[in-house]
């Protein structure tokens, strides 16, 4: 054979999968790390609320009407004397429940349907996928929520179902576009030449290469879900039992004229903090995972 034993990559060059490279970049992104830290903090609060470690007394009347900020009531009390801080922390749990359920289901659904559509682009399968996405995108969001609430007879998960069934199309379109791009790449052709069946090609070769989209979409979808929850709860289409930031803000409208803003301030500040942190995290993920930059 020829003398050319090609050298290995230089010994000290970073030996890494794309994931490790991404992690390396993420670690150098201070805004993204800060966002991640804040999200983790909220998550701890949420888990605590789920497990009943704290904020268990959110529904109890523990003070007087519109009680002031004090050591016992960190952010005062509401119109009937419930502790605003406890309610806000409890609502963090609700926000994560809504955000996680919706984000995971919507992104998962978008990934699978989008991948199938993209892989079978220009066939009737893709036509159906496109039609479905078009239909769901054309229905106004609030009407969708209402319609599903009607159909599910006020099931508490109607809001989740409505969000999943409208939110997945964004991921679906992105994944479909990416899959169409990937499908034409030679490594997919190589897999077909080897005889890998279509389902395995989609799940083993194509979908893993869309993970960067899915991860970013997960964070964005989470943000959309908790923002939508606030509006829906205010409109009376959202959270029915329990407590949420949306219900707190809704409740605060009764207090404006009397000049009490604690409910509004606390709920919207917590909401802002979480959404902002997630947005920074999404940006950092986008930069770190962008395959164009991972050279």
């Amino acid at each position: 054979m020829n003398a050319a034993q090609p050298g290995l990559p230089a010994a000290t060059a970073p030996r890494a999968s794309l994931w490790r490279t991404a992690l390396y970049k993420l670690r150098r992104d201070r805004a993204g790390l800060l966002g991640l830290a804040v999200v983790v903090l909220y998550l701890v609060a949420a888990v605590g609320a789920w497990c009943g470690w704290w904020a268990g007394d959110w529904a109890l009347i523990t003070g007087t009407k519109w009680g002031p900020v004090s050591a016992q009531h960190w952010f005062g009390t509401n119109i009937i004397g419930q502790d605003i801080f406890q309610r806000a922390i409890y609502s963090t749990g609700t926000a994560f429940q809504v955000g996680l359920v919706v984000a995971v289901l919507a992104v998962g659904m978008g990934a699978v349907i989008g991948a199938v559509g993209g892989f079978f682009a220009a066939t009737w399968i893709d036509e159906i996928v496109l039609w479905l996405m078009g239909v769901l995108d054309a229905i106004p969001f609030y009407l969708m929520v209402a319609a599903i609430a009607f159909a599910l007879a006020d099931n508490p998960y109607a809001m989740h179902v409505a969000m999943v069934s409208t939110f997945w199309t964004t991921t679906g379109r992105l994944v479909r576009g990416e899959v169409i791009k990937l499908r034409g790449l030679e490594f997919v052709e190589a897999a077909r030449a080897i005889g890998v069946p279509p389902v395995a090609i989609i799940f083993r070769h194509i979908l893993p290469n869309t993970f960067h989209i899915l991860l970013v979409q997960l964070t964005l979808c989470f943000v959309d879900a908790i923002k939508a929850e606030v509006v829906l709860s205010f409109l009376g289409l959202g959270v029915k039992d329990g407590m949420s930031w949306g219900l707190m803000i809704s409740e605060s409208t009764l207090e404006f004229l009397a000049g009490h803003f604690n409910n509004l301030i606390v709920a919207s500040a917590l909401l802002f903090g979480l959404v902002f942190a997630f947005n920074m995290l999404a940006d950092a993920l986008q930069d770190a995972l962008d395959p164009k930059q991972v050279a």
Binding site: M1, P9, A193
Partner: protein, 332 residues
């Protein structure tokens, strides 16, 4: 001559053009338009042509990576265009492909070892340990160390990735490999390394290659025979030595003379063709080459020449031209 390993008969691949109110088919791009080829086991056929001539489509249609519109592809006596999916899977062991773009031809999320092992996994060949052993062998054949198996493609140079792609193609011991422009994305100093590897594989492993390239110089180093394609059809097919020495078709002659030669002392008379390649959606009538051909006459505009052997040409040469020959060509 032995029975050919691969026989392509009247192969066509048309892509529909849609238009109008109801997206009906209003025309066809005739990417491959009636190609006949034969390839004997262990030999290399070079397929040369400019971009858009249909050479890559032909390669993929032979492997049924793109479904041919019509015609037959007979591999080891079996017509693979007629095979159902399951039977085709078994035939895939016999035929493999090497790609042009070393950056796109490996899945960036899978290690080199996984990529090379995948054909063995799909076809359930041997135990896991045997497959791992085979990966080691394959890496050795293409000149890579065993320690690279856990690395990811982006850690490799273009030439090394191309070696990995070759190892993957070799895994199933195929009888035929279609190599689609395997060196055109590589640096000049690396091209020779890969070309030598291909030549060695053919020699030592008896693999037949269909070697597709736009570069006549590259084709020369690996091919026993050469076929020249223009607008979906083969215009000349000849043993390599005679094609380079005595090209018969005016297009082959123009192609040869257009290759820049790295020797300032050898200024040649160049045949510069006028105009561009016509669109394969609307090929010219008669001989598709006639609008650019210096020899074109009335007959060429009306009657399409068939690929046939001609008097005065070297043995084994077949050419699709009404007025073949070397007379217009300068001697150098």
């Amino acid at each position: 001559m032995n029975r050919p390993l691969l026989e392509v008969r009247e192969l066509r691949k048309y892509f529909p053009i849609r238009g109008g109110l109801f997206r009906r088919v209003v025309g066809q791009v005739k990417a491959v338009d009636g190609v006949n080829l034969q390839l004997v086991a262990g030999r290399t056929l070079g397929l040369v042509g400019e971009s858009g001539c249909g050479k890559s489509t032909l390669g993929r249609a032979i492997l049924r990576l793109q479904e041919p519109t019509s015609g037959q592809v007979i591999l080891s006596g079996e017509d693979i265009t007629a095979l159902p999916r399951q039977a085709l899977l078994a035939q895939r062991r016999q035929m493999q492909i090497i790609f042009q773009d070393p950056y796109a031809s490996l899945n960036p999320r899978r290690t080199v070892g996984q990529a090379i092992r995948e054909p063995l996994d799909v076809h359930r060949i041997g135990t896991l340990a045997e497959r791992q052993q085979r990966v080691t062998e394959l890496l050795d054949i293409v000149g890579l160390r065993d320690s690279v198996r856990d690395r990811y493609p982006h850690e490799f140079s273009g030439g090394q990735r191309q070696r990995v792609g070759i190892a993957r193609a070799l895994a199933l011991n195929p009888a035929l490999i279609v190599a689609d422009e395997p060196v055109s994305a590589l640096d000049v100093s690396v091209q020779s390394q890969v070309l030598n590897l291909v030549a060695r594989l053919q020699r030592e492993h008896g693999i037949a290659f269909l070697f597709i390239s736009h570069d006549l110089a590259v084709i020369q180093h690996v091919s026993d025979e050469v076929a020249v394609m223009y607008l979906g059809r083969i215009v000349e097919h000849a043993p390599a030595a005679s094609l380079y020495r005595e090209p018969q078709h005016p297009y082959t002659q123009a192609l040869l003379s257009a290759v820049p030669v790295p020797d300032p002392a050898r200024r040649r008379q160049r045949i510069v063709l006028a105009g561009d390649v016509p669109s394969p959606a609307r090929p010219p009538p008669g001989c598709a080459f006639h609008p650019r051909c210096p020899r074109a006459r009335d007959r060429c505009r009306q009657e399409r020449p068939e690929l046939a052997s001609t008097a005065g040409a070297p043995a084994g040469t077949r050419v699709a031209c009404h007025f073949p020959g070397t007379e217009d060509r300068e001697t150098d």
